[in-house]
């Protein structure tokens, strides 16, 4: 919790040399990204009108195909702003308050932080015995504890303890969200501690790729960092394994402390292009 005591939208006097007339550099994720999908829906960058859906992300936004891409772009550009999984937030960039709420584990858990989404896992027909065992492990007390440790919000706080099985071996393949991948990897490592004969193949290719992989059975389990559409979910078994916030991040030298949800939308659709308009 990097709590600050300033209230509401405002600036931090400490970084006096920031030029507030600078043009905002908007950094968005690729369309494969679940983070982008969830972010767009919650902030209203995506406009639904009957049958039509329009993703209004500013055309001038830099597109990065991974979380680190966004972090790099924002950390190097004093005018940068982007969004990333809260679990991936580190000190090279700064997460801003949204509607006066700090992006933290707690605020996401209690629902006050507005931009959050589930981490989902999905599979098609049947799971192999080892994948089924892994699936059970994720939703066990041990699995959920790992979720918590990694900074995400568990979905089943009261899960039962895990019971070891016999003769579990073979390969388990996961594909999908770059945001889910880190926590999935940690859980998989705990799983291989128990079952040394199991090997994992985890490909971080983006949420939609994960859904497709589950549908085509090119991976045992697909990972998505957003809700699945009804169409997508139809042929799959989908389960949320955790909840995660999406942090809106700016450069560390940017004095900005907070934005309203609508300011976020305006920035990302390109209606606001100058820092002036959101500071003072």
């Amino acid at each position: 919790d990097g709590g600050s005591d300033s209230e509401g939208t405002g600036t931090d006097e400490a970084s006096g040399d920031f030029d507030t007339s600078g043009t905002i550099t908007v950094v968005a994720r690729d369309t494969a990204s679940g983070t982008r999908g969830a972010f767009n829906e919650i902030t209203g960058v995506l406009v639904e009108d009957g049958d039509t859906e329009t993703d209004n992300t500013a055309q001038s936004a830099i597109i990065q195909s991974g979380t680190q891409g966004v972090i790099t772009a924002v950390s190097e550009d004093i005018n940068g702003i982007g969004y990333i999984s809260l679990g991936s937030l580190n000190d090279t960039v700064k997460g801003v308050m949204i509607d006066d709420v700090e992006p933290t584990h707690d605020t996401v858990a209690d629902g006050t932080y507005p931009i959050a989404r589930p981490f989902n896992m999905a599979y098609g027909e049947d799971l192999t015995p080892q994948a089924q065992e892994f699936w059970d492990f994720i939703f066990s007390a041990e699995g959920q504890a790992l979720v918590e440790e990694e900074g995400y919000i568990p979905v089943e706080p009261d899960a039962a303890a895990y019971e070891e099985a016999e003769g579990i071996e073979g390969t388990i393949s996961l594909a999908g969200s770059t945001s889910v991948e880190p926590v999935a990897t940690v859980i998989s490592e705990a799983f291989t501690e128990i079952y040394p004969d199991v090997t994992f193949e985890i490909s971080a290719t983006g949420s939609s790729a994960g859904v497709t992989a589950a549908q085509d059975a090119t991976a045992d389990i697909g990972m998505a960092s957003r809700e699945l559409s009804e169409e997508e979910a139809a042929s799959l078994t989908v389960e949320a394994i955790a909840n995660d916030g999406i942090a809106v991040v700016v450069n560390n030298d940017n004095p900005l402390e907070g934005l309203t949800l609508d300011q976020v939308r305006q920035i990302f659709v390109g209606e606001i292009t100058n820092w002036d308009d959101v500071m003072e």
């Binding site: 690729d30 369309t31 990204s33 329009t54 990065q64 195909s65 891409g69 190097e76 940068g80 859904v211």
Partner: protein, 285 residues
Amino acid sequence: MKNSKEMVMKGIFFLSACFSIVALLLIVIFIFANGVPFMLDYGFFNFIFGMEWTPTNAPASYGIFPMIIGSIYVTIGAAVVGVPIGVLTAIFMAEFCPSFLYKILKPAVNLMAAIPSIVYGFFALQVFTPLIRQYFGGNGYSVLTASILLGIMILPTVISLSESALRAVPRTYYTGSVALGATHERSIFRVLLPAAKSGIISSIILGIGRAIGETMAVVLIAGNQAIIPDSLLSGVRTLTTNIVIEMAYATGEHREALIATAVVLFGFILLINSIFLYFKNKEAK
């Protein structure tokens, strides 16, 4: 018995030779079969000349004109940066370089060709983007950055082929010029260079082919916005990066649209390749 062994091996050699034809056919069939129906369905004209690329909207738009223009821009940019430096370096290698230095520089050019594109991309991301942001403005992810990077990446191709083209020019042209009282430089630029023209053009065309097909380095530094860039500092998305950014998740129509993008890219490459072969044949004559 011996003869049958000869026949069998000949058969094996023949089949091996057919392999590359089969491979090419498979590539063409699979790419085209997955891409062309979409193009026809969506409308060839709408696809090629459409200005909107919004695959996640409903209804979605799949216009790749911005990417076509983007590819053309960065390729021209790469040529502007890479060709003069490349050709002049080739001249250096062929006509100015002392032999002890040549022994080092020749492998260096090969090394340059062998460095993986991901390393170049990473380097450009860490070095060029901040420099450009600082000295030229914008956010650093731009046509200019991509052009400089691609310009560097095509250097080895341009250098080694231009150099061999220069070396293939009969020495007597050079001596003939020097004997008339022309300087070393004049002899090279007025006599050798025109004589090596078609070889040098081939090298440039190959370099351009490399630039237009480059993916992993460009994706890191181009910004990837699906818009027609309005300045050197504006971001850009090329045909290749369009595919690599979205392929991972695309399904259904969207995926077909990306494969159709590859069809267009393929078309560009075939075009460039035929121009190259034209010049190569001309050279051979």
